[in-house]
Symmetry: C2
Subunit: 199 residues, 2 copies
DNA sequence: TCCCATAGACTGAATGTTCAGTCAAGGAAT
DNA sequence: ATTCCTTGACTGAACATTCAGTCTATGGGA
Protein backbone atom coordinates (compact mmCIF):
# COMPACT_ATOMS: atom_id res chain seq x y z
CA UNK A 1 0.00 0.00 0.00
CA UNK A 2 1.09 3.53 -0.66
CA UNK A 3 1.37 5.27 2.65
CA UNK A 4 0.58 8.97 2.87
CA UNK A 5 4.25 9.59 3.37
CA UNK A 6 5.27 7.76 0.23
CA UNK A 7 2.62 9.57 -1.78
CA UNK A 8 3.84 12.88 -0.52
CA UNK A 9 7.42 11.97 -1.43
CA UNK A 10 6.44 10.93 -4.94
CA UNK A 11 4.44 14.09 -5.49
CA UNK A 12 7.24 16.26 -4.19
CA UNK A 13 9.77 14.64 -6.48
CA UNK A 14 7.51 15.28 -9.44
CA UNK A 15 7.16 18.93 -8.51
CA UNK A 16 10.91 19.19 -8.36
CA UNK A 17 11.44 17.50 -11.68
CA UNK A 18 8.84 19.75 -13.25
CA UNK A 19 10.68 22.77 -11.89
CA UNK A 20 13.95 21.39 -13.26
CA UNK A 21 12.29 21.08 -16.64
CA UNK A 22 11.12 24.70 -16.47
CA UNK A 23 14.60 25.90 -15.58
CA UNK A 24 16.00 23.88 -18.45
CA UNK A 25 13.60 25.60 -20.83
CA UNK A 26 14.53 29.04 -19.55
CA UNK A 27 18.25 28.65 -18.94
CA UNK A 28 19.47 25.82 -21.11
CA UNK A 29 21.72 22.93 -20.16
CA UNK A 30 24.62 25.14 -19.27
CA UNK A 31 22.62 27.57 -17.16
CA UNK A 32 20.47 25.08 -15.26
CA UNK A 33 21.63 24.80 -11.67
CA UNK A 34 20.19 23.26 -8.56
CA UNK A 35 20.15 26.70 -7.00
CA UNK A 36 17.85 28.01 -9.73
CA UNK A 37 15.54 25.03 -9.47
CA UNK A 38 15.40 25.50 -5.73
CA UNK A 39 14.76 29.21 -6.03
CA UNK A 40 11.84 28.50 -8.33
CA UNK A 41 10.37 26.18 -5.75
CA UNK A 42 11.13 28.45 -2.83
CA UNK A 43 13.16 25.81 -1.05
CA UNK A 44 16.84 25.54 -0.18
CA UNK A 45 19.06 23.70 -2.66
CA UNK A 46 19.87 21.18 -0.01
CA UNK A 47 16.32 19.89 -0.22
CA UNK A 48 16.92 18.79 -3.79
CA UNK A 49 20.00 16.97 -2.63
CA UNK A 50 17.95 15.40 0.11
CA UNK A 51 15.59 13.96 -2.48
CA UNK A 52 17.96 13.08 -5.29
CA UNK A 53 21.39 12.78 -3.80
CA UNK A 54 23.24 14.44 -6.67
CA UNK A 55 22.43 16.68 -9.57
CA UNK A 56 23.37 13.89 -11.95
CA UNK A 57 20.87 11.54 -10.36
CA UNK A 58 18.22 14.22 -10.55
CA UNK A 59 18.97 14.63 -14.24
CA UNK A 60 18.64 10.92 -14.88
CA UNK A 61 15.28 10.92 -13.15
CA UNK A 62 14.19 13.94 -15.16
CA UNK A 63 14.78 12.07 -18.39
CA UNK A 64 12.76 9.16 -17.11
CA UNK A 65 10.00 11.53 -16.07
CA UNK A 66 9.91 13.16 -19.49
CA UNK A 67 10.08 9.98 -21.53
CA UNK A 68 7.16 8.72 -19.51
CA UNK A 69 5.12 11.50 -21.04
CA UNK A 70 5.69 9.95 -24.45
CA UNK A 71 4.96 6.49 -23.20
CA UNK A 72 1.77 7.42 -21.44
CA UNK A 73 0.66 10.04 -23.94
CA UNK A 74 1.10 8.02 -27.09
CA UNK A 75 2.64 4.57 -26.78
CA UNK A 76 -0.08 3.20 -24.56
CA UNK A 77 -2.89 4.88 -26.43
CA UNK A 78 -1.73 3.59 -29.79
CA UNK A 79 -1.03 0.09 -28.59
CA UNK A 80 -4.60 -0.08 -27.32
CA UNK A 81 -6.12 0.17 -30.78
CA UNK A 82 -7.34 -3.27 -31.80
CA UNK A 83 -7.78 -3.05 -35.54
CA UNK A 84 -4.32 -3.23 -37.16
CA UNK A 85 -5.02 -0.96 -40.12
CA UNK A 86 -6.65 1.61 -37.90
CA UNK A 87 -3.67 1.39 -35.56
CA UNK A 88 -1.21 1.80 -38.42
CA UNK A 89 -2.99 4.90 -39.59
CA UNK A 90 -3.02 6.32 -36.09
CA UNK A 91 0.68 5.58 -35.66
CA UNK A 92 1.58 7.33 -38.89
CA UNK A 93 -0.67 10.24 -38.07
CA UNK A 94 1.05 10.57 -34.73
CA UNK A 95 4.64 10.20 -35.85
CA UNK A 96 4.38 12.87 -38.49
CA UNK A 97 2.28 15.28 -36.54
CA UNK A 98 4.26 18.30 -35.34
CA UNK A 99 2.25 18.28 -32.14
CA UNK A 100 3.59 14.90 -31.12
CA UNK A 101 7.08 16.29 -31.37
CA UNK A 102 6.12 19.30 -29.33
CA UNK A 103 4.98 17.32 -26.35
CA UNK A 104 8.31 18.41 -24.94
CA UNK A 105 10.12 21.64 -25.58
CA UNK A 106 12.46 21.03 -28.50
CA UNK A 107 15.53 22.20 -26.73
CA UNK A 108 14.82 20.11 -23.65
CA UNK A 109 14.24 17.02 -25.72
CA UNK A 110 17.55 17.40 -27.48
CA UNK A 111 19.23 18.30 -24.22
CA UNK A 112 18.07 14.92 -22.99
CA UNK A 113 19.15 13.24 -26.18
CA UNK A 114 22.54 14.85 -25.82
CA UNK A 115 22.76 13.56 -22.27
CA UNK A 116 21.93 10.10 -23.55
CA UNK A 117 25.12 10.20 -25.57
CA UNK A 118 27.22 10.77 -22.47
CA UNK A 119 25.41 8.84 -19.77
CA UNK A 120 24.84 5.10 -20.15
CA UNK A 121 21.76 5.10 -17.96
CA UNK A 122 20.09 7.83 -19.97
CA UNK A 123 21.13 6.10 -23.16
CA UNK A 124 19.40 2.94 -22.03
CA UNK A 125 16.23 4.88 -21.28
CA UNK A 126 16.19 6.29 -24.79
CA UNK A 127 16.97 2.95 -26.34
CA UNK A 128 14.05 1.38 -24.49
CA UNK A 129 11.64 3.95 -25.87
CA UNK A 130 13.12 3.55 -29.33
CA UNK A 131 12.77 -0.22 -29.33
CA UNK A 132 9.27 -0.06 -27.92
CA UNK A 133 8.26 2.25 -30.74
CA UNK A 134 9.99 0.02 -33.25
CA UNK A 135 8.22 -3.06 -31.99
CA UNK A 136 4.81 -1.43 -32.04
CA UNK A 137 5.40 -0.49 -35.65
CA UNK A 138 6.71 -3.89 -36.62
CA UNK A 139 3.86 -5.75 -35.00
CA UNK A 140 1.32 -3.47 -36.57
CA UNK A 141 2.85 -3.89 -40.01
CA UNK A 142 2.94 -7.65 -39.61
CA UNK A 143 -0.71 -7.80 -38.66
CA UNK A 144 -1.66 -5.54 -41.54
CA UNK A 145 0.17 -7.76 -43.98
CA UNK A 146 -1.40 -10.89 -42.55
CA UNK A 147 -4.81 -9.29 -43.03
CA UNK A 148 -3.94 -8.38 -46.60
CA UNK A 149 -4.02 -4.65 -46.01
CA UNK A 150 -0.42 -4.34 -47.12
CA UNK A 151 1.62 -6.10 -49.79
CA UNK A 152 4.14 -8.55 -48.32
CA UNK A 153 7.51 -7.08 -47.50
CA UNK A 154 10.22 -7.20 -44.86
CA UNK A 155 8.43 -5.77 -41.81
CA UNK A 156 11.60 -5.25 -39.83
CA UNK A 157 13.14 -3.15 -42.56
CA UNK A 158 9.99 -1.16 -43.03
CA UNK A 159 9.63 -0.48 -39.34
CA UNK A 160 13.22 0.72 -39.13
CA UNK A 161 12.72 2.88 -42.16
CA UNK A 162 9.59 4.55 -40.81
CA UNK A 163 11.28 5.07 -37.48
CA UNK A 164 14.28 6.64 -39.19
CA UNK A 165 12.00 8.93 -41.14
CA UNK A 166 10.24 9.94 -37.98
CA UNK A 167 13.43 10.81 -36.14
CA UNK A 168 14.69 12.74 -39.13
CA UNK A 169 11.42 14.60 -39.29
CA UNK A 170 11.75 15.49 -35.62
CA UNK A 171 15.25 16.81 -36.19
CA UNK A 172 14.35 18.86 -39.22
CA UNK A 173 11.33 20.52 -37.63
CA UNK A 174 13.34 21.21 -34.52
CA UNK A 175 16.25 22.75 -36.27
CA UNK A 176 15.08 24.35 -39.44
CA UNK A 177 11.47 24.41 -40.45
CA UNK A 178 8.93 26.48 -38.60
CA UNK A 179 5.20 26.95 -38.47
CA UNK A 180 3.36 25.81 -41.56
CA UNK A 181 6.47 24.20 -42.99
CA UNK A 182 6.36 21.66 -40.20
CA UNK A 183 2.82 20.69 -41.00
CA UNK A 184 3.50 20.51 -44.73
CA UNK A 185 6.70 18.54 -44.33
CA UNK A 186 4.95 16.11 -41.99
CA UNK A 187 2.11 15.61 -44.47
CA UNK A 188 4.53 15.03 -47.32
CA UNK A 189 6.70 12.58 -45.42
CA UNK A 190 3.65 10.71 -44.20
CA UNK A 191 2.25 10.46 -47.72
CA UNK A 192 5.55 9.13 -49.03
CA UNK A 193 5.86 6.75 -46.12
CA UNK A 194 2.42 5.36 -46.89
CA UNK A 195 3.42 4.91 -50.49
CA UNK A 196 6.50 3.09 -49.33
CA UNK A 197 4.38 0.66 -47.38
CA UNK A 198 2.06 0.13 -50.34
CA UNK A 199 -0.91 1.93 -48.85
CA UNK B 1 46.99 40.63 -47.94
CA UNK B 2 47.39 38.41 -44.95
CA UNK B 3 50.07 39.90 -42.77
CA UNK B 4 52.22 37.62 -40.63
CA UNK B 5 50.33 38.89 -37.61
CA UNK B 6 46.95 38.11 -39.06
CA UNK B 7 48.11 34.65 -40.05
CA UNK B 8 49.37 34.03 -36.56
CA UNK B 9 46.09 35.21 -35.10
CA UNK B 10 44.07 32.95 -37.36
CA UNK B 11 46.23 29.95 -36.55
CA UNK B 12 46.03 30.65 -32.86
CA UNK B 13 42.26 30.88 -32.97
CA UNK B 14 42.08 27.52 -34.69
CA UNK B 15 44.30 25.94 -32.06
CA UNK B 16 42.01 27.30 -29.39
CA UNK B 17 38.86 26.09 -31.09
CA UNK B 18 40.42 22.67 -31.53
CA UNK B 19 41.24 22.60 -27.82
CA UNK B 20 37.66 23.65 -27.04
CA UNK B 21 36.44 20.75 -29.15
CA UNK B 22 38.69 18.34 -27.24
CA UNK B 23 37.43 19.60 -23.91
CA UNK B 24 33.86 19.23 -25.13
CA UNK B 25 34.55 15.61 -26.02
CA UNK B 26 36.07 14.89 -22.63
CA UNK B 27 33.88 16.96 -20.35
CA UNK B 28 30.59 17.51 -22.12
CA UNK B 29 28.64 20.71 -22.52
CA UNK B 30 28.14 21.17 -18.82
CA UNK B 31 31.75 20.55 -17.88
CA UNK B 32 33.45 22.53 -20.62
CA UNK B 33 34.91 25.71 -19.21
CA UNK B 34 37.31 28.31 -20.51
CA UNK B 35 39.67 27.39 -17.70
CA UNK B 36 39.90 23.80 -18.90
CA UNK B 37 40.46 24.85 -22.49
CA UNK B 38 43.17 27.23 -21.34
CA UNK B 39 44.80 24.60 -19.15
CA UNK B 40 44.96 22.25 -22.12
CA UNK B 41 46.72 24.90 -24.14
CA UNK B 42 49.00 25.96 -21.30
CA UNK B 43 47.83 29.55 -21.44
CA UNK B 44 45.85 31.70 -19.02
CA UNK B 45 42.08 31.82 -19.50
CA UNK B 46 42.28 35.51 -20.14
CA UNK B 47 44.02 34.82 -23.41
CA UNK B 48 40.89 33.10 -24.68
CA UNK B 49 38.92 36.15 -23.68
CA UNK B 50 41.41 38.28 -25.54
CA UNK B 51 40.76 36.33 -28.73
CA UNK B 52 37.05 35.69 -28.49
CA UNK B 53 35.65 38.27 -26.13
CA UNK B 54 33.18 35.95 -24.44
CA UNK B 55 32.67 32.25 -24.04
CA UNK B 56 29.46 32.50 -26.04
CA UNK B 57 31.27 34.06 -28.96
CA UNK B 58 33.90 31.36 -28.79
CA UNK B 59 31.15 28.76 -28.88
CA UNK B 60 29.56 30.33 -31.93
CA UNK B 61 32.91 30.29 -33.69
CA UNK B 62 33.45 26.69 -32.69
CA UNK B 63 30.25 25.66 -34.43
CA UNK B 64 31.32 27.51 -37.53
CA UNK B 65 34.70 25.84 -37.37
CA UNK B 66 33.16 22.40 -37.07
CA UNK B 67 30.50 22.84 -39.73
CA UNK B 68 33.28 23.92 -42.05
CA UNK B 69 34.69 20.43 -41.72
CA UNK B 70 31.50 19.09 -43.29
CA UNK B 71 31.48 21.71 -45.98
CA UNK B 72 35.09 21.23 -46.95
CA UNK B 73 35.18 17.48 -46.38
CA UNK B 74 32.05 16.58 -48.31
CA UNK B 75 29.95 19.36 -49.71
CA UNK B 76 32.68 20.74 -51.92
CA UNK B 77 33.95 17.36 -52.99
CA UNK B 78 30.50 16.13 -53.99
CA UNK B 79 29.51 19.31 -55.76
CA UNK B 80 32.63 18.97 -57.90
CA UNK B 81 31.47 15.75 -59.54
CA UNK B 82 30.32 16.56 -63.05
CA UNK B 83 28.25 13.58 -64.08
CA UNK B 84 24.85 13.84 -62.36
CA UNK B 85 24.24 10.12 -61.89
CA UNK B 86 27.71 9.60 -60.57
CA UNK B 87 27.21 12.54 -58.22
CA UNK B 88 23.88 11.17 -57.01
CA UNK B 89 25.45 7.83 -56.23
CA UNK B 90 28.29 9.53 -54.39
CA UNK B 91 25.85 11.67 -52.39
CA UNK B 92 23.80 8.67 -51.33
CA UNK B 93 26.94 6.70 -50.51
CA UNK B 94 28.09 9.57 -48.35
CA UNK B 95 24.86 10.34 -46.54
CA UNK B 96 24.31 6.77 -45.42
CA UNK B 97 27.88 5.99 -44.58
CA UNK B 98 28.50 5.84 -40.82
CA UNK B 99 31.89 7.38 -41.38
CA UNK B 100 30.41 10.60 -42.70
CA UNK B 101 28.48 10.92 -39.49
CA UNK B 102 31.57 10.30 -37.44
CA UNK B 103 33.50 13.17 -38.90
CA UNK B 104 32.65 14.83 -35.62
CA UNK B 105 32.26 13.16 -32.28
CA UNK B 106 28.57 12.30 -31.89
CA UNK B 107 28.16 14.06 -28.62
CA UNK B 108 29.84 17.22 -29.85
CA UNK B 109 27.70 17.31 -32.96
CA UNK B 110 24.52 17.07 -30.95
CA UNK B 111 25.88 19.53 -28.43
CA UNK B 112 26.17 21.95 -31.33
CA UNK B 113 22.75 21.03 -32.60
CA UNK B 114 21.37 21.64 -29.14
CA UNK B 115 23.04 25.02 -29.07
CA UNK B 116 21.45 25.80 -32.42
CA UNK B 117 18.06 25.50 -30.75
CA UNK B 118 18.91 28.18 -28.24
CA UNK B 119 21.14 30.57 -30.17
CA UNK B 120 19.83 32.25 -33.32
CA UNK B 121 23.30 32.66 -34.80
CA UNK B 122 24.12 29.00 -34.39
CA UNK B 123 20.69 28.10 -35.73
CA UNK B 124 21.39 30.11 -38.85
CA UNK B 125 24.69 28.31 -39.34
CA UNK B 126 22.97 24.95 -39.18
CA UNK B 127 20.19 26.08 -41.46
CA UNK B 128 22.73 27.20 -44.04
CA UNK B 129 24.38 23.80 -44.09
CA UNK B 130 21.01 22.11 -44.24
CA UNK B 131 19.82 24.16 -47.17
CA UNK B 132 23.10 23.76 -49.01
CA UNK B 133 22.79 20.01 -48.67
CA UNK B 134 19.17 20.14 -49.76
CA UNK B 135 20.01 22.17 -52.81
CA UNK B 136 22.85 19.91 -53.87
CA UNK B 137 20.46 16.99 -53.70
CA UNK B 138 17.67 18.77 -55.52
CA UNK B 139 19.91 19.95 -58.33
CA UNK B 140 21.43 16.53 -58.71
CA UNK B 141 18.03 14.88 -58.85
CA UNK B 142 16.80 17.38 -61.41
CA UNK B 143 19.79 16.78 -63.64
CA UNK B 144 19.39 13.03 -63.35
CA UNK B 145 15.75 13.25 -64.34
CA UNK B 146 16.53 15.52 -67.26
CA UNK B 147 19.07 12.97 -68.44
CA UNK B 148 16.52 10.18 -68.09
CA UNK B 149 18.37 8.40 -65.31
CA UNK B 150 15.39 8.78 -63.03
CA UNK B 151 11.63 8.66 -63.59
CA UNK B 152 10.00 12.08 -63.37
CA UNK B 153 8.87 13.09 -59.91
CA UNK B 154 8.77 16.09 -57.60
CA UNK B 155 12.45 16.78 -57.01
CA UNK B 156 11.86 19.10 -54.08
CA UNK B 157 9.86 16.48 -52.23
CA UNK B 158 12.38 13.78 -52.97
CA UNK B 159 15.27 15.91 -51.82
CA UNK B 160 13.50 16.73 -48.56
CA UNK B 161 12.67 13.10 -48.06
CA UNK B 162 16.23 11.91 -48.57
CA UNK B 163 17.49 14.65 -46.29
CA UNK B 164 15.00 13.64 -43.63
CA UNK B 165 16.08 10.04 -43.92
CA UNK B 166 19.69 11.07 -43.58
CA UNK B 167 19.11 13.09 -40.43
CA UNK B 168 17.06 10.29 -38.95
CA UNK B 169 19.81 7.85 -39.78
CA UNK B 170 22.32 10.10 -38.04
CA UNK B 171 20.15 10.26 -34.96
CA UNK B 172 19.55 6.54 -34.79
CA UNK B 173 23.18 5.57 -35.17
CA UNK B 174 24.15 8.20 -32.63
CA UNK B 175 21.68 7.12 -30.02
CA UNK B 176 20.99 3.47 -30.41
CA UNK B 177 22.72 1.35 -32.98
CA UNK B 178 26.38 0.52 -32.67
CA UNK B 179 29.10 -1.11 -34.72
CA UNK B 180 27.88 -3.35 -37.49
CA UNK B 181 24.28 -2.28 -36.98
CA UNK B 182 25.21 1.18 -38.20
CA UNK B 183 26.65 -0.17 -41.42
CA UNK B 184 23.72 -2.49 -41.99
CA UNK B 185 21.13 0.16 -41.24
CA UNK B 186 22.89 2.57 -43.56
CA UNK B 187 22.95 0.02 -46.36
CA UNK B 188 19.29 -0.78 -45.91
CA UNK B 189 18.16 2.82 -45.79
CA UNK B 190 20.27 3.63 -48.82
CA UNK B 191 18.80 0.73 -50.79
CA UNK B 192 15.27 1.79 -49.90
CA UNK B 193 16.08 5.41 -50.72
CA UNK B 194 17.32 4.36 -54.13
CA UNK B 195 14.14 2.42 -54.66
CA UNK B 196 12.18 5.49 -53.71
CA UNK B 197 13.95 7.48 -56.36
CA UNK B 198 13.34 4.78 -58.96
CA UNK B 199 16.96 3.71 -59.25
C1' DT C 1 -6.25 3.62 22.14
C1' DC C 2 -2.42 5.98 23.82
C1' DC C 3 2.63 6.78 23.80
C1' DC C 4 6.96 6.94 22.25
C1' DA C 5 10.99 5.95 19.34
C1' DT C 6 12.27 6.72 14.89
C1' DA C 7 12.53 7.83 10.09
C1' DG C 8 12.41 11.14 7.07
C1' DA C 9 11.09 16.01 5.50
C1' DC C 10 13.11 20.16 5.74
C1' DT C 11 16.13 24.26 6.89
C1' DG C 12 19.94 27.48 6.65
C1' DA C 13 24.52 28.31 7.09
C1' DA C 14 28.96 27.14 5.51
C1' DT C 15 32.26 24.39 2.75
C1' DG C 16 35.79 24.86 -0.93
C1' DT C 17 35.83 25.05 -5.82
C1' DT C 18 35.10 26.82 -10.19
C1' DC C 19 33.24 30.05 -13.07
C1' DA C 20 33.58 33.96 -16.79
C1' DG C 21 35.47 38.04 -17.12
C1' DT C 22 38.70 42.47 -15.80
C1' DC C 23 42.83 44.82 -15.54
C1' DA C 24 47.40 46.57 -15.56
C1' DA C 25 51.68 45.68 -17.08
C1' DG C 26 55.38 43.33 -19.78
C1' DG C 27 57.38 42.14 -24.09
C1' DA C 28 57.72 40.91 -28.90
C1' DA C 29 56.84 41.79 -33.63
C1' DT C 30 56.08 45.36 -37.16
C1' DA D 1 56.97 53.97 -31.85
C1' DT D 2 53.17 51.53 -31.90
C1' DT D 3 50.37 47.72 -32.02
C1' DC D 4 48.75 43.84 -29.90
C1' DC D 5 49.89 39.27 -27.97
C1' DT D 6 50.43 37.47 -23.59
C1' DT D 7 50.63 37.08 -18.77
C1' DG D 8 49.06 36.42 -14.04
C1' DA D 9 46.90 38.33 -10.33
C1' DC D 10 42.38 39.32 -9.17
C1' DT D 11 37.09 39.83 -8.62
C1' DG D 12 32.54 38.61 -7.20
C1' DA D 13 29.22 35.52 -8.21
C1' DA D 14 27.56 31.05 -8.60
C1' DC D 15 28.27 26.36 -8.11
C1' DA D 16 27.20 21.41 -5.93
C1' DT D 17 27.44 19.44 -1.84
C1' DT D 18 27.90 18.82 3.42
C1' DC D 19 26.39 19.21 7.85
C1' DA D 20 24.14 19.85 12.19
C1' DG D 21 20.03 20.13 13.76
C1' DT D 22 14.61 21.06 14.05
C1' DC D 23 10.17 19.54 13.30
C1' DT D 24 6.48 16.19 12.26
C1' DA D 25 4.05 12.32 10.79
C1' DT D 26 3.92 7.36 11.37
C1' DG D 27 3.96 2.62 12.91
C1' DG D 28 4.75 -0.64 16.73
C1' DG D 29 4.35 -1.90 21.51
C1' DA D 30 1.75 -1.21 25.90
Amino acid sequence: MATARAQHTAARRQEMLAAYYDVLVDEGLQGASLAKVARRLGVPPSLLIHYFGTKEQMTVELVDFLLDKYRRGYGDRLAAIDDPLERLTAVLDTLFDPEYHQLLDDSVFYACFYLSLRNPTVRAQFATLHYASLELLETTLRECMAAGHLPPDDVHELAQLIETLEEGYALVIGGVADGDDRQALGAMVKRRARGLLGL
